[in-house]
């Protein structure tokens, strides 16, 4: 019995505009560029993929299932720039074959820096998903599948979740296979781990001509999935939604592949599709997975070095979260919203110097020519936010106490 569990990550960051030390206004974000990119991705990826998947779900009458995690900041952008995509997501939700997961609303690294903020962002995201799609998520994924034992403990503490999904990295699995359900130490939560080999076959290798398996046809892939039968229960295919149309362009045949995949997989009577919740319900945890050091699904290392690999990133993140108390004290919703949008992990991803010599996935949609430019830009913005905060707090102190309602003149 091999159940295919599809999970698609849907996210676009709020990119900063060019902000120098001479800039003093509080328009930090490049609305024009963000709108442009959002619309472009919507037309190349979200629209065609949503339509295709909706079609497939209807065609297979409940046998084809998928799951999404859509970030809060993308949902805001879709409302503004591509509402038709949002409508399609809602249609998908109403099929009953699509599960929406919870994550931090702002796609942030708050888990690593501020527990309070982390919890608040999850709550906000849950409420948004409930409001838009009528589902209350019971499956959690942290930003970029960042995970360790402490995360499991925290999720247990917060409550309301049954499952966490994360990366099936070799260094946490060892000899174990990602094709089973696991659990964290001392917890009743279930852990579903990405099968990175099969996932990356679609997400990365699909169009590489010098790959030994190119071209990848749906039939071939289905046979690999079927090979799991007898040594696994689930095949967890987790990837960026933009695989379909952006990372892999339409002319690679990716949509064709997706279109035929359910049919090919369902040809094997032992296989089916399950959402993460269904996977957790169907299978017991076979073992504990101990993850004392943080993993993620990023780069070859599958750790957090993509966001915390150099002094600039560390400094930027530390300074950002140092402002938390002040920002929240201002009670100014614009300041708070801006501060939160600055938490998007992408800002720090752009500062990564790891593979700067080669152009690679880090450079895709990277608005900066160099990681140093991104750091300078970010810190200039942060500096301005800090000043705004201080001014706002000062104003708050200096305001006279409000006149209580009873003493108003009218009565």
């Amino acid at each position: 019995m091999a159940s295919v569990c599809f999970y698609f990550q849907v996210h676009q960051p709020p990119r900063l505009r060019h902000y120098t030390i001479f800039d003093t206004d509080d328009n930090y974000f490049d609305d024009f560029k963000n709108a442009q990119i959002c619309r472009k991705v919507a037309s190349k990826c979200y629209m065609p993929s949503n339509l295709l998947l909706l079609d497939l779900i209807k065609k297979y009458k409940g046998r084809f299932k998928i799951s999404y995690s859509v970030t809060g900041i993308l949902l805001e952008q879709l409302e503004l720039y591509a509402p038709e995509v949002l409508t399609l997501f809602q249609e998908l939700a109403s099929t009953g074959c699509v599960e929406f997961l919870a994550e931090t609303y702002y796609h942030s690294l708050s888990f690593l820096y501020s527990q309070e903020e982390f919890i608040e962002q999850i709550e906000t995201h849950k409420q948004t998903i409930q409001r838009l799609f009528g589902q209350t998520p019971r499956v959690f994924r942290n930003t970029e599948l960042i995970y360790n034992n402490a995360l499991a403990a925290l999720i247990d503490q917060i409550g309301g979740f049954d499952v966490i999904i994360t990366e099936g990295a070799d260094h946490i699995l060892g000899y174990k296979s990602p094709n089973f359900v696991y659990r964290p130490p001392n917890s009743k939560l279930k852990l579903i781990l990405k099968n990175y080999r099969l996932s990356d076959d679609i997400a990365f290798r699909f169009s590489e001509r010098n790959w030994s398996e190119w071209p990848l046809k749906a039939g071939k892939f289905a046979s690999w999935v079927n090979a799991v039968n007898g040594c696994g229960f689930v095949v967890n295919l987790f990837m960026d939604y933009e695989t379909f149309g952006e990372h892999q362009w339409e002319d690679t045949g990716i949509f064709n592949f997706l279109q035929h995949l359910p049919e090919e997989i369902l040809k094997y009577p032992d296989n089916d599709f399950k959402t993460p919740s269904e996977v957790a319900a169907a299978f017991d945890a076979v073992d504990v997975i101990d993850v004392p050091y943080t993993v993620s699904w990023a780069d070859i290392e599958r750790d957090i070095s993509a966001w915390l690999g150099n002094p600039m990133q560390e400094n930027a993140l530390t300074e950002l979260y140092r402002l938390e108390a002040n920002v929240k004290n201002t009670n100014n919703k614009n300041i708070i919203a801006d501060w939160r949008k600055l938490q998007a992990s992408d800002h720090f991803y752009y500062m990564c110097t790891k593979y700067f010599a080669d152009g690679d996935v880090h450079r895709y949609f990277n608005p900066y020519d160099s990681p140093y430019d991104s750091y300078v830009n970010f810190m200039n913005v942060l500096d301005n936010l800090n000043s705004r905060c201080c001014r706002a707090l000062l104003q708050k102190e200096q305001q006279p106490p409000g006149i209580p309602a009873r003493q108003c003149l009218s009565s």
Binding site: T20, F22, P311, T353, A357, Y372, M379
Partner: protein, 421 residues
């Protein structure tokens, strides 16, 4: 492989990057086992230093380097030719000096040059004639001429010896003079590039200029990046205590290097940060104007001029600097930023330079974009994390620039040229 190399300047008597490049390349080629006869112009009052044996011969001085250069023999031609001196300066000198009779160049080694005419054109052709003379008694396979002053000599030697000519373009008239080029120099450059079998450019930036502004075929032009000398044992100097950050400009103070942009940015930086000083290390035709400009802008007390620095002073100033800025208007390559990075100094360079096309761990800016220049300088001075990351990664990056690699590529071009001849 034996090469007849025509150079301009050589350490320790250098005034710019050309001498440094010549030295680095020659040393590396020497290590590869290539035999080099290096011909240099020299004014009479300069001597080479203790480890060079001077042997005299008719009309020119031949020296043999004993220690560092095993396969290199130096030939020096007495000449007034100095690199980087603009044509007008030569003309101005000519007006001043009264030129008397021209002494025959077959006289003995101690030539008196004061009596020579300062006409540059004449000097170049005299150099060429002498070089051709030397060529008749030397044995070599190929000719390698560095920058425009040596091209007529290269052409002359090629004619006399019937060996192929390679020209090495370290800079073009467009780099040095912007759009107000000297037509004669442009003519000489073009003639040299046309006559050569192969043209070596120090960057793609320069290669593009050669192809588009000199009309040379693209197949003829190769790019070989300069290297940087490895100073594995630079002593850490005891430096004076400093309370202020130092932003360094090190290079010739001339239009090409953008000193006025440096000063304009300095003024803006000082409006944001108080405890910083700007140091301009170098000499050049814009030195006095720069001093005046700094005073005019009201930042004279924050800008220090050291004049030309040599030897350990260069190391010292790099060790004191918190940042190195190269706002060049047009830089064919730019070895100085690499030297700065070697000394663990973060670097901001102009995008209009050869080295910008290949360096990754540096900050880059358009030379005219004063605001962005200021933005980046302030960021480096304000954020230690940025300073540290740029230093570490930038330093590591300099290991890519090895003279050994350049020498290998030069040798390969030599072999290809000779094979097809």
């Amino acid at each position: 492989m034996k090469t007849f190399m025509l150079g301009w300047e050589f350490p320790p008597f250098i005034s710019g990057g050309l001498g440094t490049a010549c030295y680095g390349l020659t040393k590396a080629m020497d290590r590869l086992g290539i035999q080099i006869t290096l011909v240099l112009p020299k004014t009479s009052d300069i001597s080479f230093g203790s480890d060079v044996k001077m042997l005299s011969a008719e009309g020119h001085i031949k020296t043999e380097e004993v220690s560092e250069f095993k396969n290199v023999s130096f030939c020096v031609i007495a000449s007034h030719l100095r690199p980087y001196v603009a044509c007008d300066a030569h003309k101005a000198c000519q007006k001043e000096k009264k030129s008397s009779h021209i002494r025959s160049w077959h006289s003995g080694c101690t030539e008196q040059l004061e009596n020579y005419g300062w006409d540059m054109y004449e000097q170049i052709h005299r150099y060429a004639a002498k070089a051709a003379e030397i060529a008749t008694v030397e044995d070599f396979d190929i000719i390698h001429a560095h920058d425009w002053m040596t091209y007529p000599a290269g052409i002359a030697v090629a004619k006399v010896s019937r060996k192929p000519l390679l020209v090495h373009v370290h800079s073009t008239e467009f780099d040095r003079s912007g759009e107000h080029i000297n037509q004669m120099i442009y003519g000489i450059e073009r003639q040299g590039m046309d006559a050569a079998i192969k043209v070596i450019a120090v960057s793609n930036y320069t290669r593009n200029i050669i192809i588009h502004r000199y009309g040379i075929q693209s197949e003829k032009v190769e790019v070989i990046y300069n290297g940087v000398e490895r100073n594995s044992s630079v002593p850490l100097h005891t430096l004076p205590d400093k309370t202020e950050k130092i932003v360094l400009f090190l290079g010739r103070i001339t239009m090409q290097k953008g000193p006025e942009y440096f000063l304009a940015a300095a003024k803006k930086v000082l409006e944001k940060i108080k405890n910083v000083k700007f140091v301009m290390a170098g000499d050049g035709d814009m030195l006095h104007r720069s001093i005046e400009l700094a005073a005019q802008m009201g930042i004279g007390h924050k800008v220090l001029f050291t004049r030309f620095l040599r030897g350990s002073d260069v190391d010292r100033i790099y060790q004191m600097a918190d940042m190195y800025v190269m706002p060049s208007v047009s830089e064919p390559f730019g070895i100085a930023p690499l030297e700065a990075l070697q000394h663990h100094v973060p670097v901001l360079i102009s995008k209009q330079s050869g080295v910008a096309e290949t360096l990754k761990h540096v900050l880059k800016v358009d030379f005219w974009d004063i605001n962005e220049m200021t933005n980046k300088i302030v960021a480096v001075l304000k954020y230690p994390a940025l300073h540290k990351t740029l230093c570490n990664n930038g330093h590591f990056e300099t290991y890519r620039f090895r003279w050994e690699d350049a020498a290998q590529r030069v040798n390969k071009i030599y072999e290809e040229t000779l094979a097809s001849a």
